[in-house]
């Protein structure tokens, strides 16, 4: 690629392409075409948001964490506890509270654990999450303990759109709107100089120090932002479903979102979309019928991805495109 082409690519990478409207058009289409599957659709939208938040931290900044569910759970429980104990059930402000709490948690834990790296970091993220999980278990008076808090009710969105627990109509559009907002935020960050510097941190930490970048500050910042976003996804979860329990925390949830991001492709904005949709649709159809075969399949997929297709589905597509273009 000539210098001019390279500069042009660099200068215009952030521009919105026409096809980027497709996912959202598809999202709206689903609303009209599959009115009986909006509950499932809402879960998919929530997971995409959660996966996007993980992509910021893992795909772009290269921070390997198995504890991201801690922030999802923090957001979920914040909304739940506010609704159950403080009578605070307005959705939008509830989400804001979730973002704040999860973000603060991310800032504090990030500032502490990002002093380490490698296995120690992995351990510390796991421990933080396990700690929260146990705390939620112990504090049953607040969190409902093992059974969680079922039967939560929320005020109609913007005073008009009621959350209906049967068809999830309002919830779906609400989740779609929140996802759009979250996506635009992530997109902006990723294309900014800050976002570029994150990829530098991921690719060569030592070099980033050696060009004068305040590495740890950037890491903690992206960790906090990502945590806040994960918290919003968690808050959405509680609001849309009307309950929260320990399943929002824990290794299963963290591993699940990691798998989604990996299979779709990390470090590219749309990997979260591809991964979440593919994984959840497949899980919805296959896992119920054949749970162990499903787990076997996922396990094999992960092994194969780790050995051959490090960049997931989108990465494979990219690779094919590059090889095709080289001819």
């Amino acid at each position: 690629m000539s210098l001019r082409a390279a500069t042009l690519e660099y200068a215009t990478r952030h521009r919105l392409r026409a096809w980027e409207a497709l996912p959202w058009a598809a999202g709206l289409a689903v609303f009209f075409l599959f009115p009986n599957h909006l509950a499932f659709g809402t879960q998919v939208l929530i997971m995409i948001l959660f996966a996007l938040s993980l992509d910021l931290v893992l795909g772009y900044a290269g921070i390997v964490t198995l504890g991201h569910a801690a922030f999802f759970g923090a957001g979920a429980y914040t909304v739940g506890m506010l609704a159950a104990h403080a009578g605070w059930s307005e959705p939008l402000s509830g989400l804001a509270a979730a973002a704040l709490v999860a973000g603060a948690l991310g800032l504090a834990s990030g500032w502490i654990v990002l002093r380490t790296h490698g296995l120690t970091l992995l351990m510390l993220t796991l421990c933080t999450m396990a700690l929260l999980e146990q705390a939620a278990n112990m504090g049953a008076a607040w969190t409902g303990g093992f059974d969680g808090m079922p039967g939560l009710e929320f005020q109609p969105l913007l005073g008009r759109f009621e959350f209906d627990v049967l068809y999830f109509r309002s919830q779906y559009l609400y989740a779609l709107a929140v996802l759009l907002g979250g996506f635009l935020l992530v997109r902006m960050l990723v294309h900014s100089s800050f976002g570029r510097s994150l990829t530098g941190i991921r690719e060569n930490l030592l070099r980033m120090h050696a060009i004068g970048a305040p590495v740890r500050a950037r890491q903690v910042l992206v960790y906090a932002i990502s945590a806040a976003l994960a918290g919003v996804a968690g808050g959405l979860f509680t609001q849309a479903n009307g309950f929260v329990n320990l399943a929002v925390l824990g290794l299963d949830r963290s591993a699940g979102v990691l798998i989604i991001l990996i299979l779709g492709g990390y470090g590219r904005l749309y990997g979260a979309f591809v991964g979440a949709i593919a994984y959840l649709v497949l899980e919805h159809t296959l896992a119920k019928a054949y749970p162990s075969a499903w787990q076997l399949g996922i396990g094999l997929a992960l092994v194969l991805v780790a050995l051959y297709a490090r960049n997931g589905v989108l990465g494979l597509a990219d690779g094919l495109r590059r090889r095709g273009g080289a001819r």
């Binding site: 296995l119 120690t120 351990m123 290794l251």
Partner: protein, 286 residues
């Protein structure tokens, strides 16, 4: 329950943790490889013993030996064919691969045998109580403690007194230097990996009464194994030993006093410990 009983119970749990985790610590210290599937080898060991005893009528210790050999062989095969490809890969790829492998192990066992818990039939003489003079305690737990201590001694002697042990210690400390001194690090690792996984298998079977045995075993206890390894210091057998005992006793005490969520303190303590001392008890500073 008085102090002595609690201590013994905790020590027994700790010994199980030690037997399972020591292999993980050495291989992580040796190759820097994050192996989240390690618990899977422990589980396979437990199931191997159950099957050998139930379907082939093997006595307990023969089944244990068989489990050790079978899992060690499987581990060696997996290491040579799959793990070795990822030594240069980043941490994320190692995490993905080993989680995937753990999933495969869990699913395979569920499909082949079923999701129920299994019990390991202990030999007669381990089932009762032993009179220690000041206290009568479960023979099984006492045997675990004795076995763990013996293993620690054997490993210590092995590392300190044999050439292979010296090679392993050297390679843990500085792999490149060991290689330039002629140590065949590749072969060493296959050996250590097989041995460590075999030990895990034994631990899985021996510890079935304490930790249980079902397909979810690998991921349920993963955090504990990792904690023990991280706190002990990678590649330090003595570190894993003391960390396991500490965690075992602590966990026992906490579960007794705070049955719901008492383990929270273990995570909090681990967090605090690793922050103050990221290299673990006996590890070297990065």
């Amino acid at each position: 329950m008085d102090l002595a009983s609690i201590l013994l119970g905790g020590l027994a749990s700790g010994m199980v943790l030690f037997v399972v985790s020591v292999g993980l610590s050495v291989t992580m210290g040796l190759m820097g490889f994050v192996n989240l599937a390690h618990g899977g080898f422990a589980m396979l060991g437990g199931y191997a013993v159950v099957l050998a005893m139930r379907h082939w009528g093997l006595p307990f210790f023969a089944a244990l030996a068989l489990a050790f050999l079978a899992v060690a062989a499987l581990a060696a095969l997996l290491e040579r064919t799959l793990y070795a490809r990822l030594y240069r890969a980043g941490e994320l790829d190692q995490v993905l691969f080993t989680i995937g492998l753990a999933f495969v192990m869990i699913a395979a066992v569920t499909l082949a045998i079923g999701p129920e818990s299994q019990t390991v039939a202990l030999p007669e003489w381990l089932r009762g109580q032993t009179d220690l003079g000041f206290l009568s305690y479960r023979s099984y737990s006492l045997a675990l403690i004795a076995f763990g201590a013996a293993l620690m001694l054997a490993l210590w002697l092995g590392f300190e007194r044999t050439r292979i042990g010296a090679q392993i210690r050297a390679a843990v400390d500085n792999r490149r230097m060991a290689q330039s001194l002629g140590v065949d690090v590749g072969r060493l690792f296959t050996l250590t990996f097989a041995l460590g996984s075999g030990l895990a298998a034994v631990g899985g079977a021996l510890g079935a009464e304490i930790l249980g045995l079902d397909p979810q075993y690998p991921l349920r206890y993963l955090v504990y194994f990792l904690i023990v390894v991280a706190v002990g210091g990678l590649g330090r057998v003595s570190g894993v030993f003391f960390a396991s005992l500490a965690i075992g006793v602590l966990d026992f005490v906490l579960k007794f006093n705070f049955p719901q969520g008492g383990t929270m303190f273990i995570y909090a303590l681990t967090l605090a410990f690793l922050l103050l001392r990221p290299q673990g008890l006996f590890g070297k500073r990065a």
